[in-house]
């Protein structure tokens, strides 16, 4: 299935993408096709087990497809010579459970991805400050995750995802662990960052209200995209 909104430059393209587990007994993705352009904000929705997170893992080069084609800027992503470099430079992950490292402060957590690019210690520290300021946590630099609220932790995670200036943000239920107030503010922050900085964002969610904020919704069921359209 090709996106009807392929007007801008193509960033991601999938053709007949499949992912199977347990020697083919479990088919998580069954021939997925899509095209995503630079600057798109795409929500992926669907019931549990429909393949949303598996698709997100393939987009982030955390996993490889069983068959099919997945292109990033026209190059085969599964054949990328250095998937770690792709994850470090091109992708920012935001997880439902935040996944901050508990023994590092907010500032240090944001600096973690920067080890893979050429930045000095002071440059890393300054960049972390800028990003935490961007998400409204400039007064929480030296706080450990255990001393932060859920909403603040997710904001740190968002700052971390932006550490190396990625072109693609992948968010897996980013508000799933937050109360409604924090969920709202985190979502607004993500949307603001996506719009202001023109990044491509793929957001997996169960929540139709959140999906409705995206420019485009891919609905999945049983490992396939069953609808692709504007929200």
């Amino acid at each position: 299935m090709t996106s009807p909104f392929a007007s801008a430059a193509s960033l991601l393209e999938a053709k007949a993408l499949t992912r199977e587990f347990d020697d083919g007994q479990v088919k998580a993705l069954r021939g997925v096709d899509f095209l995503m352009n630079e600057g798109d904000f795409v929500a992926i929705t669907g019931p549990s087990g429909c393949g949303k997170s598996t698709l997100l893992q393939l987009l982030g080069a955390l996993d490889r497809p069983t068959s099919g084609t997945l292109l990033y800027q026209g190059e085969s992503l599964p054949d990328h010579p250095n998937p770690a470099a792709y994850r470090a430079r091109e992708v920012g992950f935001i997880f439902q459970a935040f996944h901050l490292l508990p023994t590092f402060t907010a500032s240090e957590n944001v600096q973690i991805p920067m080890f893979e690019i050429d930045r000095s210690v002071s440059e890393r520290r300054e960049r972390a400050f800028e990003l935490l300021k961007l998400v409204g946590l400039e007064n929480r630099l030296d706080h450990f995750p255990s001393k932060l609220s859920g909403g603040e932790r997710q904001r740190v995670a968002i700052a971390r995802s932006l550490a190396n200036g990625p072109s693609l943000l992948l968010a897996d239920e980013p508000t799933g662990n937050l109360d409604s107030e924090n969920a709202h503010s985190v979502l607004e922050l993500l949307i603001r960052l996506q719009q202001e900085q023109g990044r491509t964002m793929v957001l997996v969610t169960h929540d139709p209200t959140i999906a409705g904020r995206a420019g485009r919704i891919l609905r999945m069921k049983d490992g396939q995209i069953v609808s692709d359209g504007k929200s």
Binding site: L62, R87, F95, A163
Partner: protein
């Protein structure tokens, strides 16, 4: 934040476990320092004692023990004419119990031999002649036996008189009871028996010429062994056994250390599976993950090594003052040994970290997306 900070935080994550692992390595390294330091100290002390007497070669029989079996004193006459021999001194040396001391060196020397010359009187006098029933005590021996000038000292069945206290320029000399050779031969009922000949070479004799002289002596008297001072103990079976046991025990202690660190690092990797997957997900390479685990285990080794060296050094100092061995050895706590111990500890850390590091690098980053 530097990469070192990341490594350090990994260790501080579980301070109790890190502490216990450090204790494990420390004990292993302390064992190395203590056992090897003591055996090397004993070897060194013995060599220094011989050198202090001005001895270049030692002749013993081939039994190869620290106090070798006696042989006939006439051996000396058979080698006396060899070139490059400046002087000889017959000895009968025993390591035995003297009164309350379990281990005491009893050093009987040919009256008038050069092996008396290094002894410097601190108090009293030297025996008048070879037959006077008197001993001089090294200063440490006098302390251990709690003797002063004029006190009697029981040597086997004979009571002798302490006439002098001396220092001999070496721990072994200072820890000895020194008497004339005929006196001990009479006490032990073995007239004309000796178990060592100290040989002093003519001035200017080099190492190679000494080795040739030793060879000539052995050719002339095949039943004896002539060795240089530095080789003397290496031919002693008892000492070789002690040395092998000290290294063997040390290796066992090191092996325990290796298993301890490996266990800790594996636990770390298992516990931090999720964290490592997050690091992979945010772009860390497998190489960097491996380096992180390896640096952590190497640091464990380094810290454990430093602590172990300190514990071992203090322990061995305390041990060397124990009544049973006091005066017999000065532990060798040389910088090379202490440095080697720290290097061993770091190697233990690195080797122990290899498998956990490899395991950590095999983790799948997609696990990070699963709830945790």
């Amino acid at each position: 934040m530097t990469f070192f900070t990341v490594v350090l935080r990994g260790l501080l994550r579980r301070p109790l476990r890190t502490g216990l692992t450090l204790a494990g390595i420390s004990i292993g390294i302390a064992a190395v320092v203590a056992l090897v330091g003591m055996s090397r100290g004993f070897e060194k002390g013995w060599q220094v004692g011989l050198k202090a007497r001005g001895t270049d070669l030692v002749i013993t029989n081939k039994s190869g023990s620290l106090t070798p079996k006696p042989f006939d004193a006439s051996v000396r006459d058979r080698i006396a004419t060899l070139p490059r021999i400046a002087a000889t001194c017959n000895l009968l040396v025993q390591v035995t119990s003297v009164e309350d001391s379990d281990l005491m060196i009893l050093s009987a020397r040919e009256w008038g031999g050069f092996s008396w010359n290094n002894l410097e009187l601190i108090s009293g006098r030297m025996p008048h002649d070879a037959t006077e029933e008197a001993v001089v005590l090294g200063q440490t021996a006098a302390e251990i036996l709690r003797k002063k000038i004029g006190d009697p000292v029981q040597i086997e069945t004979k009571e002798l008189k302490v006439v002098g206290i001396v220092k001999g320029g070496a721990l072994v000399e200072d820890g000895s009871v020194i008497l004339s050779l005929p006196l001990l031969q009479e006490i032990t009922g073995s007239p004309n028996q000796i178990n060592a000949i100290d040989v002093r070479a003519t001035p200017g004799t080099n190492e190679q010429q000494l080795a040739e002289l030793a060879q000539q002596i052995q050719q002339l008297v095949p039943e004896v062994r002539a060795v240089t001072v530095s080789e003397h103990l290496s031919h002693a079976e008892g000492f070789r056994l002690v040395k092998a046991m000290s290294w063997g025990t040390s290796l066992l202690a090191i092996l325990v250390g290796v298993l301890g660190v490996m266990n800790t690092m594996l636990m770390t990797v298992f516990e931090r599976t999720h964290e490592i997957c997050v690091l992979l997900a945010v772009g860390w390479t497998r190489g960097r993950i491996m380096r992180m685990i390896l640096y952590e285990s190497a640091l464990l080794g380094l810290f454990g090594g430093v602590a172990g060296v300190a514990i071992g050094a203090i322990g061995v100092k305390v041990l060397s003052e124990a009544p049973a061995i006091r005066g017999l050895l000065q532990p060798d706590l040389s910088i090379p040994l202490l440095g080697l111990s720290v290097v061993i500890a770091m190697a233990v850390g690195i080797i122990s970290g290899l498998y956990p590091a490899w395991r950590s690098s095999r983790l799948t980053p997609s696990l990070a997306l699963q709830a945790g």
